[in-house]
C-alpha cells in the first residue's frame, strides 16, 4: 500500500494536465528560458575544459557539498524538538516563536551575518563552524514550518494508543511519529540543503576570507572578473550536483508517503503533566534564545553611537536631510512600501501557482515528480546567472520585460514556490484514499469526490505557504538583485546601501531599518496564523468524520 496515495487521487488526466499548465509555463518562461539563453550565449568547449580541469573548481565543489550536508543534518536534528512542540502544544508565545524563527530565516544575510558575528566568541570567528552554526540557526524555521505543519495534521490517537499500552515517549517517537513524518522530513531536508548548498552571504561574512561556495565563485567570475563563460560552467556544475541530491530526496519523499487519516483541524493542546510542561518550556525557551540573540544584537546596534547610546538613527530615519543641506538619497519609508507591495504580489503569484502545482503533483505520477523537482531548480540555481539571463532574454519586443515592475515579484515568487508546494504536497499525498473511495461509493464523481475530500486539506498549508512566500520576498536578495532597477529600492537593498557607507549614523540607521524589516516579518507571520485560525473554523467540518482504518 506504499504508493497507494498517488493512485488514489484519481483525477481525470485532462484535469491534472490543465492544473499543471500554469506552473510549467511560469517555470519555462521565467526560469528555463533565461537560464538556457545565458548558457547558450556564454558556454563554449574550451571554458568547459578549462574550468573542469582546474583543481580549485573541485575544491570549491567539495567544500560546498560537505558544509551543506553537515549543516542540513545538524539543522534537522536540532529542529525536531521545536517542530514537535509547535505542532502539538498550545503555549503562550507560540505564534511569536514561529514568527521570530521565520524572521531569522528571511532577513538579509548581510544583516544577520553581522549580528551573528557580534555574538560569536572570538575563537569561532571566521571559521567553518561559525558558518555551520549560522546555517543551523537561520534554517530552523524550515524544519519548524514544514515538519510542524505536517505533524499537527497527524492523528494523535495512535500516539495515545501506544502510550496507553505503555510505550515510552521515545519509543512512540521512533516507532510511530518518525516514520509517519518522513515525507515532511525529506521535504524540509531538501530545502535546507538547497539553501545551504547555495549559501552566499553567510559564508562571505562568517567564513574566513577566500572560503567559497560554488554560488560565490559564480558571482565572483560573472561580476568581478567578467568571466561569464566560466561562471556559466560552474553554475551548471552546481545544478548537476543539486539535481542528484534533490531527485533522491523527492523519491524518498514519495516512497515514504504513507496514507494516514490526516485531520484538517489542529490537535494542539495545553501541556498536562509537569514533565511535559518542563519539556515544552525548555525547548521553547532554548529555541527563542537561539534566535532572539542575533535579533537583539541587531536592534541594540541601531541604538549605538560613538559616544554611547542614542536614538538619533531612529529619529532621523524618515528625514530626507541627514545634516542641514546633506541628503542621503535613500528613502527607508519608500523602500518599506516597495517591499510590502512586492511581497503581496510575490505571495499571490506563489500561492496561485503553488496551489495548482501541488494538486497536479499529488495527483500525477511520474510527471508530478518531474514538476516537483523542476520547481525546486530556481532556488538551486545561481542567482546571478538567472538575473543576467533575464537581462539578455527579455530585451526585445514583445518580450521587452527587463524594466517591468512585475519582473521582481515574479522572480521572488519563483523562489517562494517550492515552499508553498512542499508544505502542501506532503499533506495532500497523505490524504487517506479510503475517504475518496467512500465518497465514490456514495455516488460522487471522481472530480467531485476529489474536490470534497482532497481540497479542504489545502487551506492550512497554503496559508503557511503564503506567509512564507511574503516573508521570503521581503528579505529576498537573490536573482532579482541582479536585475537593474529604477526607483524601486527595497528594504534589503536600502539596508545594504546604508551598511556599505562610512559614518556611524548611517550604520545605526542600517540596523534600525533591519529591525523594522524583522518586526514586519514577525507581524506578517503572526497575523497569518491569526487569520488562519479564523478561516480554519469554516473548514473544520469537512473531512473530520474520517473512516477508521
Amino acid at each position: 500500500m506504499k504508493n497507494g496515495a498517488c493512485a488514489a487521487n484519481r483525477l481525470p488526466s485532462r484535469v491534472v494536465a490543465a492544473l499543471a499548465v500554469g506552473p510549467i509555463a511560469g517555470l519555462v518562461v521565467f526560469y528555463l528560458w533565461p537560464f538556457t539563453t545565458l548558457l547558450a550565449r556564454a558556454i563554449n568547449g574550451s571554458t568547459v575544459a578549462d574550468t573542469l580541469s582546474r583543481g580549485a573548481t573541485w575544491d570549491i565543489a567539495w567544500f560546498t557539498l560537505w558544509q551543506a550536508v553537515v549543516s542540513t543534518a545538524i539543522t534537522m536534528l536540532v529542529g525536531l524538538a521545536p517542530a514537535y512542540i509547535v505542532a502539538r502544544f498550545e503555549f503562550p508565545g507560540r505564534q511569536l516563536l514561529v514568527g521570530v524563527l521565520t524572521a531569522i530565516f528571511v532577513l538579509p544575510t548581510v544583516v544577520m551575518g553581522a549580528a551573528f558575528l557580534a555574538l560569536l566568541p572570538d575563537s569561532l570567528d571566521r571559521t567553518v563552524w561559525a558558518v555551520i552554526a549560522a546555517h543551523v540557526v537561520f534554517n530552523l524555521a524550515v524544519m519548524v514550518r514544514i515538519v510542524g505543519a505536517f505533524w499537527e495534521h497527524l492523528p494523535i490517537d495512535m500516539e495515545s494508543a501506544a502510550a496507553t499500552l505503555g510505550a515510552s515517549r521515545w519509543r512512540i517517537f521512533v516507532d510511530i511519529s518518525l516514520p509517519l513524518l518522513r515525507p515532511s522530513l525529506s521535504a524540509a531536508g531538501a530545502i535546507i540543503f538547497l539553501f545551504t548548498f547555495t549559501s552566499f552571504g553567510v559564508i562571505r561574512i562568517l567564513g574566513s576570507a577566500g572560503t567559497r561556495t560554488l554560488e560565490i565563485e559564480v558571482w565572483r567570475r560573472a561580476t568581478q572578473l567578467g568571466d561569464i563563460s566560466g561562471a556559466a560552467v560552474l553554475s551548471v556544475l552546481q545544478l548537476a550536483v543539486l539535481a542528484v541530491v534533490v531527485g533522491w530526496s523527492t523519491r524518498a519523499q514519495r516512497q515514504h508517503a504513507r496514507a494516514v487519516d490526516l485531520r484538517p483541524e489542529q490537535d494542539r493542546r495545553r501541556t498536562k503533566s509537569p514533565g511535559e510542561r518542563r519539556f515544552v518550556t525548555l525547548v521553547a525557551v532554548g529555541t527563542a534564545a537561539l534566535c532572539i540573540a542575533p535579533l537583539a544584537a541587531m536592534a541594540i546596534r541601531s541604538f549605538r553611537s560613538a559616544s554611547g547610546w542614542s536614538t538619533t538613527a531612529w529619529t532621523t530615519l524618515g528625514k530626507a536631510e541627514v545634516r542641514p543641506g546633506i541628503r542621503l538619497g535613500i528613502d527607508p519609508v519608500g523602500a518599506l512600501v516597495n517591499s510590502i507591495q512586492n511581497a503581496a504580489w510575490a505571495s499571490s503569484f506563489a500561492v496561485l501557482l503553488g496551489a495548482v502545482a501541488s494538486l497536479a503533483i499529488a495527483a500525477a505520477g511520474r510527471g508530478g515528480r518531474l514538476l516537483d523537482v523542476g520547481l525546486m531548480l530556481p532556488i538551486g540555481t545561481s542567482a546571478v546567472t538567472i538575473g543576467f539571463g533575464m537581462l539578455i532574454t527579455f530585451d526585445t519586443p514583445p518580450f521587452d520585460w527587463r524594466a517591468e515592475w512585475w519582473l521582481v515579484p515574479v522572480g521572488h515568487a519563483l523562489v517562494a514556490l517550492p515552499f508553498v508546494v512542499r508544505t502542501t504536497v506532503g499533506v495532500l499525498r497523505s490524504v487517506d484514499p479510503s475517504l475518496q473511495d467512500a465518497a465514490a461509493t456514495l455516488g460522487a464523481s471522481p472530480t467531485r469526490a476529489w474536490w470534497n475530500v482532497v481540497v479542504p486539506f489545502l487551506w492550512r498549508p497554503l496559508a503557511v505557504g503564503a506567509a512564507l512566500a511574503a516573508a521570503i520576498s521581503l528579505g529576498e536578495f537573490g536573482a532579482t538583485s541582479f536585475l537593474s532597477r529604477s526607483g524601486g529600492e527595497t528594504l534589503p537593498i536600502a539596508i545594504d546601501e546604508l551598511l556599505g557607507r562610512t559614518g556611524s549614523l548611517l550604520q545605526a540607521q542600517g540596523y534600525a531599518l533591519a529591525t523594522i524589516l524583522a518586526v514586519t516579518t514577525v507581524s506578517l507571520i503572526v497575523g497569518v496564523s491569526r487569520i488562519h485560525d479564523m478561516t480554519g473554523l469554516a473548514h473544520q467540518r469537512s473531512g473530520s468524520e474520517t473512516v477508521d482504518r
Binding site: 560565490i216 567578467g226 519608500g334
Partner: protein, 386 residues
Amino acid sequence: MRTRPIIASALALGMIAAACASDSSDPIDPPTAAELPATAAELPATEPANTGPDTDQPAERFTTITLVTYDSFPQADTSINAALDAFTEQTSIGVELLVAGDTGTMLSKAALTVGNPEGDVMWGIDNTFLSRALNDGIFEQGVLFDPENVPAEFLALVPNGEALPVDFGDVCVNYDIGYFVENELDLPTSLQDLAAPAYRDLLVVQNPATSSPGLAFLLASIDEFGADGWQAYWQQLTDNGVQIVDSWTDAYYGSFTWAGGGDRPLVVSYGSSPPAEVIFADPSRDDAPTGVIESTCFRQIEFAGVLAGTDHPDEAAELVRFLGSEQFQAELALNLFVYPANSAVALPQEFEDFAVVPEMSRTLDPDLIDENRSDWIDEWSTLALG
C-alpha cells in the same frame, strides 16, 4: 498594520485559483488577468512618471534618456538629483536613473547587452575596469565631450575619447587616531612600515577577489614593489598578522577599532572616509576621528560615456557633457564622496578641512591591470589565503 489585508487578499487569490482549478480547464489566467491591470494603474506612482513624451510637457522634442549607474549613486532627493532636474529644464531631456549593481556587475551587464543597452549613458566605470569596458566596446565611438579643466593624465587614459573622466578618489589605509594616541604609537608612513613588527596584528584589508578597495590596495602594493616584488611584501604582511575579510563593510564595521568595536586600528578604506566620519557622525563632531596614510593611496578615476547602441546618441552626449560641467561637478563631493575631475570646481568646507588629496597617488596602467587582474588575484589568493 498594513500586512493583514495583503495577506488576506493573497489567500483569497489562492482560494480563487484553487476554486477555478477544479472546474475550469484554464485555471491560471482568469484571476491573474483580472488582477494585473489594477496594479499596473497603481504602481507607476512609485516610479518617476516621465517615461514618455507626456501631455504636460510643452517642449516639442522632449525625450527621456536613461542614466545607468552603480548602486551608491543617489536615486532621489539629493542635490545631485536636483542638478539633473536642472539639466532637464535647460534641455528638455528627461533623465531616468537605472541602478545596475556594483561597478563590476554594471560592467558585466553592459558587456552582455552591447548594442541593445539597458540605458543611454553609463556613469562610474573606474580605471581598474576601464580596459575591459573599452575592449568590450560598451561605449559609443566618436562622441565629442569637449572636456574642460580635466587633468591631462586622466584624459590620457582614454586616448580615443570613448568616455569622459568625471571624478576621482583614493583608496588608502585609514587609521584610528584615538588608538595611536592612547597607545603612544607612531603612525606608519609607508607600505613597507605596515609589515613592521610595531604594527603586528593591527591591519585589516579586503580580499581583492571580492572587493574593489581590496583590489586597489593590492594594486598599490604592485605599484610600489613591482610585478615581481609584491609577493614577498604580502608574505611579510601575512607573517605580520594582516587580517583579510571579504568586503569593505566587514572590514570597516566589523574589524576597525573606530567604527565597529573591532581590534584593528588600521583599515583599507577611502581617502574620503575621514570627512564622511565628520558629516555622518552621531553625535555631531567637528574633527575627524580617523586619518589617512598618504603614501598608501591608490587612485581610482571614474568615467562616464554614451552606451553603444543607444537610440538617443545626441541627447546622451549632451548629458555626458553636462556630467562634466561645473554645475554638476560641484555636487559630487558631498553626495558621492569623490573629487570632481573638473579642476575648476571648488571643494566644500568639510573636504577642505578633513580630506586629504595626496600629492602623489599611485596608479597602474589600465591595460596592465586588465591583462593581469585574474592572474594576480589567483596568485595573491594562493599566497595570502593559503
